[in-house]
């Protein structure tokens, strides 16, 4: 039974194919999230406040939709076994698009539901440290782009699922120090967040450069796959390398800009408050 997108030794066709494992995975995350909110809200949500705001729910559902798009036919199937460019586009969706949307959907009270001393509480705080997050994210990025891993894992449904899951986890870990919804979890300052995001663009240069400049295809899987629209394997690989930087980096630059303007807003508000405080003080 085909439940997850993996490489297949048949020519690509635009005939829709069902991947029920993908649907269950996406629905499972959604159901798990909303049930958790429902279960924990009575004890942990601030009184007199909606446990999940509409905006938060919209972000989370948006993340689920993007996750489904990245995983299901046709993107999932093309990326798993036919085109490296689509594989790279999937990586971008999994690590740079889906995680921020999901994290923006988490209400601020939810991470605090895990007691600080509990295993989950400790894990959430440790992962919010930029150095830890960066190491995990980069290790997943590098390992998941090694030719033996791509050629080996993408051939089986379970292997392909493992790669997709690793990318999603890597993406959530990467964005956690920046988007953890509660300052009690992440105390990373705004300038540090900007610096951290910049650092996160550095290691992808390594695989991107190899993909762009290698003389021959790095992955047997994509080199020997039936061609799609006659796209040559090396052209596909070069395009994948370019996408990895030319599409991924602007997403992170956008995030850096948003963090910068938030920082500016917070500083301005603090200045205004300070001026108001001084203006209210009696002159000596």
């Amino acid at each position: 039974m085909t439940w997850w997108c993996a490489a297949r030794d048949v020519a690509w066709t635009w005939t829709w194919q069902a991947y029920p494992g993908v649907w269950l995975f996406v629905l499972g995350i959604g159901a798990g999230f909303f049930l958790t909110i429902r279960r924990l809200a009575p004890r942990h949500a601030p009184p007199g406040q909606l446990p999940l705001r509409r905006g938060e729910a919209a972000w989370f559902v948006g993340g689920l939709v993007m996750l489904w798009v990245a995983t299901d036919w046709p993107i999932g199937a093309l990326g798993a076994g036919y085109l490296l460019t689509v594989h790279t586009a999937q990586w971008i969706l999994y690590t740079l698009v889906v995680p921020p949307l999901l994290l923006l959907g988490i209400p601020a009270w939810l991470p605090l539901a895990a007691a600080p001393g509990s295993r989950t509480g400790r894990l959430l705080r440790v992962l919010a440290r930029p150095v830890v997050a960066l190491l995990i994210t980069d290790a997943i990025l590098i390992a998941s782009h090694l030719p033996p891993v791509v050629d080996g894992f993408r051939r089986s449904q379970f292997g392909s699922f493992t790669v997709d899951l690793a990318w999603l986890v890597g993406g959530l870990v990467m964005w956690w120090p920046v988007l953890a919804p509660n300052p009690a979890i992440s105390r990373v300052s705004y300038p540090w967040k900007i610096g951290y995001l910049f650092l996160s663009t550095l290691v992808p240069i390594v695989p991107a450069a190899f993909l762009t400049y290698a003389d021959y295809p790095l992955y047997a899987l994509y080199e020997l796959a039936p061609r799609v629209n006659g796209i040559a394997a090396i052209t596909d690989q070069q395009a994948a390398g370019l996408i990895m930087k030319a599409v991924a980096d602007p997403i992170i630059w956008l995030a850096m800009a948003i963090v910068f303007f938030r920082w500016q807003r917070v500083e301005e508000a603090a200045d205004r408050a300070e001026r108001a405080r001084r203006g209210g003080e009696p002159s000596s």
Binding site: V10, V131, A139, P207, Y216, E223, R227
Partner: protein, 212 residues
């Protein structure tokens, strides 16, 4: 940060760098890696080049042995509507040839014989081959002529596979036969031979029995 936490990340990065370096290094023609594991499978009993007569894409008669004499020749039986093996083989050989020095590439003749003469007219074959390399030679003939060319190479003749609701496909041998310059079929290169491997094998085959 403890060293034990840094180690896996550094190790993974080193692995990628090594693997990618290897992928860049392997293709260079005539590198000293000639003694490495070969993608080509050697025939235990090399066979002389047959002189089957087919027609090239210009409509001229093409006696195979006479027309390829003195060149290292790669012979492949396939068809242009092939969804997987044929375009990948042709693309990989072409990619390797484009990267090799001109003096090596000039000594190679790539001959594609259609196993589907019904659909593969000379024009169709030419247009398809030009997509890979304009130097590739395309041959066709009657079904009987094409079948006997395969039999001459001791290959089972290709057969038509009817697929309900879709254009028919053709089952055919998936390996490329390599004739060295002495006119003997000495090696078969299976489907799965990668561009970097072709780039390593072609200079060896051109220089056979010496080293590139």
């Amino acid at each position: 940060m403890k060293t034990t936490k840094l180690l896996p990340a550094l190790l993974a990065m080193a692995l990628l760098v090594c693997t990618a370096c290897e992928a860049r290094r392997a293709p260079s023609a005539g590198t000293p890696e000639a003694g490495g594991e070969s993608a080509a499978r050697e025939y235990p009993n090399p066979r002389p080049k047959p002189n089957f007569l087919l027609t090239d894409t210009e409509g001229r008669p093409f006696p195979f042995r006479d027309s390829t004499e003195g060149s290292m020749t790669l012979l492949f039986f396939g068809y242009t509507h092939c969804p997987d093996v044929c375009p990948v083989h042709m693309a990989n050989i072409a990619a390797a040839l484009h990267k090799l020095p001109d003096n090596v590439a000039r000594q190679v003749k790539v001959v594609f014989v259609t196993t589907d003469p019904e659909r593969d007219t000379p024009q169709v074959i030419r247009a398809w081959l030009d997509h890979f390399d304009k130097r590739f030679i395309g041959l066709t003939g009657t079904q009987a002529e094409v079948d006997s060319a395969q039999v001459a190479m001791r290959l089972p003749p290709a057969y038509r596979e009817d697929i309900p609701g879709a254009p028919y496909q053709v089952g055919h041998s998936a390996h490329v036969i390599a004739f060295t310059k002495d006119g003997m079929a000495r090696f078969a290169l299976p489907f799965g031979t990668r561009q970097s491997e072709w780039a390593q094998e072609i200079p060896r085959l051109v220089a056979y029995p010496g080293q590139p």
